[in-house]
């Protein structure tokens, strides 16, 4: 078992729903966790599918919250966005972009294949320095509240299993295979180096 708690990063597209849900649960379980988005902007559902609310990564959750309250309080209360932002601002002040973070992790968990690709591209485009491995695992989660919750628990279970391995590097391959069978969903997995 590694002596330090796993440094986990959970990454989704906008660092709002899926990654934050997982962030929430993982931090409650004592993981050293951070969450990120890979998109160029932070997007939240708007009044119509083609009219999302777009923010940049500098906007705080608080600002988004008050912006949405101003726009249509009822709509955003009803579709749970305000509730989500409320939760998010309790966790941290603003969304973070994965590409802008140079910190190192042991484990990066992505929430959809597109994000996985972006993370891999980012990690591979960095210059190698330390030969410190980082495992990138993709767990497909649909972007809605229910799936986010379910997905967060799955991620949490996965992290706990990995944390409890005697030798993560050696066992992770098999562990993921087992997990795949158990949860009957495929995980993309690869290893990158910082």
């Amino acid at each position: 078992m590694p002596s330090h708690p796993l440094r986990v990063a959970v990454v989704c597209s906008s660092n709002q729903n899926r990654s934050m849900e997982a962030h929430n649960i993982l931090s409650k379980r004592g993981f050293d966790v951070r969450s990120f988005g890979t998109g160029t902007h932070v997007k939240l559902p708007g009044p119509a599918p083609d009219k999302p609310n777009v923010y940049d990564f500098k906007t705080t959750y608080e600002q988004m919250y008050s912006d949405l309250v101003r726009k249509d309080k009822e709509l955003y209360t009803q579709n749970g966005i305000l509730h989500m932002l409320e939760r998010n601002k309790r966790i941290k002040t603003r969304p973070e972009r994965f590409q802008s973070c140079k910190d190192q992790f042991d484990l990066v968990i992505t929430c959809e294949e597109r994000v996985y690709d972006q993370v891999l591209e980012e990690l591979n485009s960095r210059e190698q320095e330390t030969y410190q491995p980082v495992h990138v695992i993709n767990v497909d989660i649909q972007d809605n509240h229910e799936e986010a919750t379910l997905g967060a628990f799955l991620i949490c279970e996965l992290c706990q299993c990995i944390q409890h391995t005697d030798d993560m590097e050696n066992e992770i391959d098999e562990l993921l295979q087992e997990f795949e069978e158990k949860s009957s969903r495929p995980f993309l997995h690869t290893v990158c180096f910082y």
């Binding site: 690709d117 210059e127 795949e180 495929p186 990158c192």
Partner: protein, 1196 residues
């Protein structure tokens, strides 16, 4: 503490003169303090403290480093691995800071690594990450210091040794260690190869060492040797990558490393692209589906990265083909190609060539000092990488014209045979439909793919040509080396020749094992035989055998024997042609039984490869083994024979394509069936597809009586198998066996034992497979219950006596089991038939607790056919003498006498509605399609009459009404004629049945054309003084009301007081009747008695003068009133049930699924009054408004 202060002293002394003492004191003091504390801390705190020290002495104040080095290094003997890991990290940092330190530290590092060896894993995880860096600093330092001391040399050796150790870790058992080893290899290759202008150089590593920084004339480090090392490391990496069982993680790591290599050292581009190509065509079969997609994703990513590098220009076509295969769009690929590529074309050639030369022609490097200068292209390029490259090219060119549609079709057909049964995950993931099939480009691509595969398998013209060329090249190289050598110093000559020699071997060896691991094996195997087989010849001596021959060593002897036998085995075809195959078979069989060891297994495997063609060999071997066993009797063991039989049988069993014939033959002709063989047979039988083989066991039972019970047991076991097909086949054969007297007892006992299991509260573990570890408390399920009964039930029709056992078990079993039993007995009971004496006996005895079972049997028996008199007799006996449960009678009801049925009716109609329905179906003959209504003891009319005549003290009115409703529901049976007869008969009874009028009204509703008949009935009822029966009278009035104006003539026949009673009930009738009378001719009017007229006109008179009614209060009026009261009283007192009540009827309509509602509703509507005086009033009010409509009562 003493040592601590001493240290402080040293530190302060050292720095006092040079730097500001105050600041320095605090830093060094702090360090001392931390170190002191750390010595006594727990591991975690210690690490924190040590990290602080590291920060202080390396970054904050590097001058302290030298001072505290020893103290820090002292922690390498710490118990905790974590701390030791830290020390390694510290050494790395320290060396980066000051490479001179390396001299001191390298020994420590090595020692650390060595003392880690028990935890090799940990060594690699930390050591591998660190070592490249150490290497770098070491080399930097070695490069800079021109003079070489012994110390430095020793240090260099140690590093080299460590490098070897780490490289060996590529074969570690630990996945993670391998991953790091790959990364180490990557770093090593990069360090040990020259940087070129087109190399991508990460900014941070700008200053890192690489081969080009090493002066060629360095006294100790040899440029060419290092280049060689780098090259061989790459080979090792490539070899590692094609390992078929490589893990997904290692593979992705290796892919990444290759991409890095290709970008940073473009001279390796060819190898990298080739490795990618090979990998894509041969994804390791061990990968799971998701891993395949991960690997493909990685491959794509790295290919794009490589594609972006300008040096990849030559390989663009290959890379884009790969990317297309990986599902990338053409447009996206084009976007990744660097635009400046064409302009870079010339410089690109240069490093490429140079790379070649570095690798392959180390001798030439000597006179090519200036790397920047474009090298002249060497005409023959005998390089190994080029060789492999062109081997594929040549083979592809060779294949291209051969790929005619016909040939391709043939290839496809042939390869169909070798396709696996299940689509491998890698194929499934990688398969993309061929879009451009048949085009030139696609054929070229196909040729290339095939060429890759062929080259990998060591086939094809390209490979042969290359091999030839390689050898030529090497000769030329040797000559060149010789020429060169003359002008160079002797040391280099020695080195070079050694290198070129090693190269010659390593190139061929590595090349072969990299691309075709199998071929060398196949080719090498026969080689060692040759010299040993050759006799020593050429001695001129008197020939004496003893001199010439020496006893062979055991192992040699064995080897020779093996080979001899193998040759006989392999010479199958040749001997068959000569017609002596029977001798070969005999020989082999005899030989085999004499030898122990693996030879037998080899032979069995050989037989199984083509069991059909080699069955004679199999049999003779088997008999020979048995013979051997008999020879050694009584002491001899059967092991060898058993092993032989077992292997053959299970070999057959494992071959799905094998038909059953051979298996059967083997089993039936084997001289002896051993226990393990029996197990195989059993397993074979359990295979659903081949369950017909079960007949083998029956054959065995019959033909090998000495062990027949063993075989029988297997068969019996199969009879409760969970697979239906296996079971049914087994049962068929058991039934056949059952006919044999000597087996019967055994089968019967087995079946009964099995059934007896049902008595247990939980299913015994016997029922579950041997391997399954089920908890004791698992409850019975339908499945397990059936399992216990299959055999028994199939025997039951053959031996009726067994039925009593079932009854005995049944009484003891729990409810769930009873239910299951009732469900499964249908088929066998029907098979037994109602004439079975044992079944009759069961009915007669009917053990206590088995009533439901008996009833179920009766139902099954009489379901399709009428009961036999015998059966009726038994049931009747049972009913009268022992169990007076009327339900027994239902199945045989049609066999009973009329009187009995009528007697039982009150009880029958009180049963559950569904049961009542069934009874009626039976009685009315509406149950069976054959319609054996003639069998019923009662005609439909009689039944309805009987219902009316049920004594209301025996049965409540509710049930009777429900029963009559059932009758009315059968419109086909109760036609208007039948109903007319019924009414006629009911009316003639005295007293009148209470439900008479209800039936009349209901009949009328069903058949309105009965109206005339009903009027007739009503008139006749008047003659019978219907008003004396309050219920009937009530109905009478209702009926009149419904049938007006037809009923007017009937009403006029009533005596005046009764007519008044009618009007009291429904006053609205009076006026129309009056009108009706007034419409009469005066002559007709004269016939109406004046008293009647008076009553008819009473109301109009009442309206004129109020006191009249009081005057009209005649005796008859009173009588009517009394009768109403009486009526109510009857309702309350004697029945507690009001036959006219709506809700009840509605309930019933809901309870019975028969579609009665339609016929009923109007009737019920008609009867909704008299529930209470209040309701009556309400009803009257409503009636006056409108004729009642269906659904109006719903509002009420």
């Amino acid at each position: 503490m003493a040592s601590g202060s001493e240290r402080t002293g040293v530190a302060s002394q050292f720095f006092a003169g040079t730097e500001d003492a105050a600041i320095d004191m605090t830093t060094s003091e702090k360090v001392v303090d931390l170190l002191n504390q750390a010595a006594f801390m727990s591991t975690d705190d210690k690490l924190i403290a040590l990290k602080q020290v590291q920060e202080l002495i390396i970054n904050k104040d590097p001058s302290l480093l030298d001072n505290f080095l020893d103290e820090m290094i002292a922690f390498q003997t710490d118990k905790s691995i974590e701390v030791r890991k830290f020390v390694i990290g510290f050494i790395e940092e320290a060396c980066k800071r000051d490479s001179e330190l390396l001299l001191k530290l390298i020994a420590n590092l090595n020692m650390l690594n060595q003392c880690f060896s028990p935890w090799q894993k940990t060594l690699a995880v930390c050591g591998v990450g660190v070592t490249p860096a150490v290497f770098d600093s070491l080399r930097q330092w070695l490069v800079r210091s021109k003079s070489v001391s012994d110390m430095q040399e020793a240090c260099w050796d140690m590093v080299t040794q460590m490098k070897g150790d780490v490289l060996a870790l590529l074969d570690s058992d630990n996945d993670g260690v391998r991953t790091h080893a790959i990364k180490f290899t990557e770093a090593l290759i990069i360090t040990l190869s020259a940087r070129t202008p087109s190399s991508e150089i990460p900014k941070k590593q700008e200053g890192d060492i690489s081969l080009d920084k090493i002066p060629k004339d360095h006294s100790y480090i040899r440029y060419d040797v290092l280049a060689e090392e780098g090259k061989s490391a790459l080979e090792q990496l490539l070899k590692f990558m094609v390992h078929p069982a490589i893990s997904s993680i290692n593979l992705t790591t290796a892919l990444g490393s290759l991409a890095t290599l290709a970008r940073q050292r473009p001279m390796f581009m060819s190898e990298v692209v080739q490795a990618y190509e090979t990998l894509h065509a041969n994804l390791p079969p061990t990968l799971a589906k998701s891993q395949v997609s991960s690997v493909r994703k990685n491959l794509k990513l790295h290919l794009v990265a490589v594609l972006r590098h300008p040096s990849s220009l030559d390989y663009h076509s290959q890379i884009s083909t790969l990317l297309l295969d990986l599902g990338m769009a053409q447009g996206d690929i084009a976007r990744c190609v660097p635009t400046s590529a064409p302009t870079r074309k010339r410089p690109r050639h240069e490093p490429y060539n140079e790379g070649k030369r570095i690798k392959m022609e180390p001798t030439l490097i000597e006179d090519d000092e200036d790397k920047e200068e474009p090298a002249p292209v060497v005409a023959p390029k005998p390089s190994s990488s080029m060789g492999t490259q062109s081997a594929i090219d040549i083979t592809a060119e060779f294949l291209l014209p051969l790929l005619s549609p016909e040939n391709v079709a043939n290839l496809v057909l042939i390869s169909m045979v070798y396709l696996p049964d299940i689509m491998p995950a890698s194929f499934q993931a990688t398969y993309t439909p061929v879009e451009s099939a048949g085009t030139e480009a696609q054929i070229k691509h196909l040729a290339r793919l095939m060429a890759t595969q062929m080259t990998a398998a060591g086939l094809g013209p390209g490979l042969e040509q290359c091999r030839g060329r390689d050898e030529e090249g090497k000769e030329a190289e040797g000559e060149a080396a010789g020429d060169e050598a003359a002008s160079k110093d002797p040391i280099i000559i020695r080195k070079v020749s050694a290198v070129s020699l090693g190269q010659a071997i390593s190139v061929v060896g590595a090349y072969k094992s990299q691309v075709a691991e199998e071929t060398p094996h196949a080719k090498k195997l026969p080689e060692p035989i040759m010299p040993s087989a050759q006799p020593n010849s050429g001695r001129k001596k008197v020939f004496r055998l003893a001199d010439v021959v020496q006893p062979l060593s055991d192992s040699h002897l064995e080897k020779l024997t093996n080979m001899a036998v193998k040759r006989i085995l392999q010479s199958e075809k040749a001997i068959a042609r000569s017609g002596m195959s029977h001798v070969r078979v005999k020989l082999l069989a005899r030989l085999m039984t004499q030898f122990e060891g693996t030879m037998k297994d080899d032979m069995l495997r050989f037989i199984l490869e083509d069991i059909r063609g080699r069955s004679d060999l199999a049999f003779s071997l088997l008999y020979q083994e048995y013979n051997q066993h008999l020879d050694q009797l009584p002491s001899g063991s059967l092991d060898s024979y058993e092993h032989c039989l077992f292997t053959l049988l299970s070999g057959l069993q494992e071959r799905p394509e094998q038909r059953d014939g051979l298996f059967t033959k083997l089993v039936l002709e084997a001289p002896l069936i051993t226990q393990s063989a029996l197990e195989v047979i059993r397993r074979y039988c359990e295979d659903e597809v081949r369950s017909t083989v079960i007949y083998i066991t029956s054959e065995l039972i019959l033909k090998r009586p000495s062990r027949q019970f063993q075989y029988l047991h297997v068969l019996l076991d199969l009879s409760s198998h969970e697979k239906e097909k296996v079971r049914s086949t087994a049962l068929t054969f058991i039934k056949r066996m059952y006919e044999k007297d000597h087996l019967r007892d055994y089968i019967e006992k087995f079946a009964l034992n099995y059934m007896q299991l049902l008595v247990h509260p939980n299913p015994p573990s016997l029922l579950f497979g041997v391997g399954e570890d089920t908890e004791v408390a698992s409850p019975w399920t339908e499945e397990t219950v059936r399992q216990c009964l299959y055999l028994y039930l199939s025997l039951l029709p053959l031996n009726h006596r067994l039925v009593h056992e079932l009854a005995a078990v049944y009484t003891e079993a729990i409810a769930d089991i009873k239910r299951s039993v009732l469900r499964v007995i249908e088929q066998p009971i029907r098979g037994m038939g109602m004439n079975s004496p044992d079944l009759l006996l069961l009915v007669e005895n009917c053990p206590k607790g088995a009533e439901t079972l008996v009833t179920r049997c009766l139902h099954i028996l009489t379901d399709k056919v009428p009961p036999s008199p015998d059966l009726v007799e038994r049931v009747r006996d049972l009913y009268h003498k022992r169990v007076p449960d009327v339900r027994f009678l239902i199945p045989v009801i049609n066999g009973l006498e009329k009187k009995e049925v009528i007697q039982a009716l009150p009880k029958l109609i009180k049963l559950n509605p569904i049961v009542v329905k069934e009874v009626f179906n039976r009685l009315l003959g509406t149950q069976h399609s054959e319609g054996s209504s003639s069998m019923s003891p009662l005609t439909p009319g009689e039944l309805l009459i009987a219902l009316h005549n049920i004594d209301s003290t025996k049965c409540d009115m509710k049930s009777i009404i429900k029963a009559t409703n059932l009758c009315f529901g059968e419109k086909n049976v109760y036609t208007s004629e039948v109903l007319a007869v019924v009414m006629q008969q009911l009316m003639e009874q005295n007293p009148l049945p209470m439900l008479l009028m209800r039936t009349v009204i209901q009949s009328l509703t069903m058949y309105p054309r009965l109206g005339g008949f009903v009027m007739n009935v009503l008139s006749r009822l008047i003659l019978k003084q219907v008003w004396k029966y309050p219920k009937v009278w009530e109905g009478f009035v209702k009926c009149c009301q419904r049938t007006k104006p037809q009923s007017y003539s009937v009403l006029l026949q009533l005596p005046p007081s009764q007519l008044a009673g009618v009007f009291e009930r429904c006053p609205e009738m009076r006026e129309p009747l009056l009108q009706h009378v007034r419409s009469f001719t005066p002559h007709q009017q004269a016939h109406i008695p004046s008293s009647i007229m008076a009553i008819l006109e009473v109301n109009s008179r009442m309206q004129e003068s109020q006191p009249e009614p009081e005057h009209m209060d005649t005796m008859e009026e009173r009588e009517v009133k009394n009768s109403t009261q009486l009526n109510l009283w009857i309702c309350i007192q004697c029945t507690k049930f009001d036959p006219w009540q709506v809700e009840e009827l509605e309930d019933e309509a809901r309870a019975t699924p028969v579609p009665l509602e339609k016929a009923d509703e109007p009737v019920e509507e008609a009867f909704t009054d008299s529930a209470s005086p209040r309701e009556q009033a309400q009803e009257a009010a409503e009636d006056s408004n409108a004729e009642p409509e269906p659904g109006a009562e719903a509002a009420e």
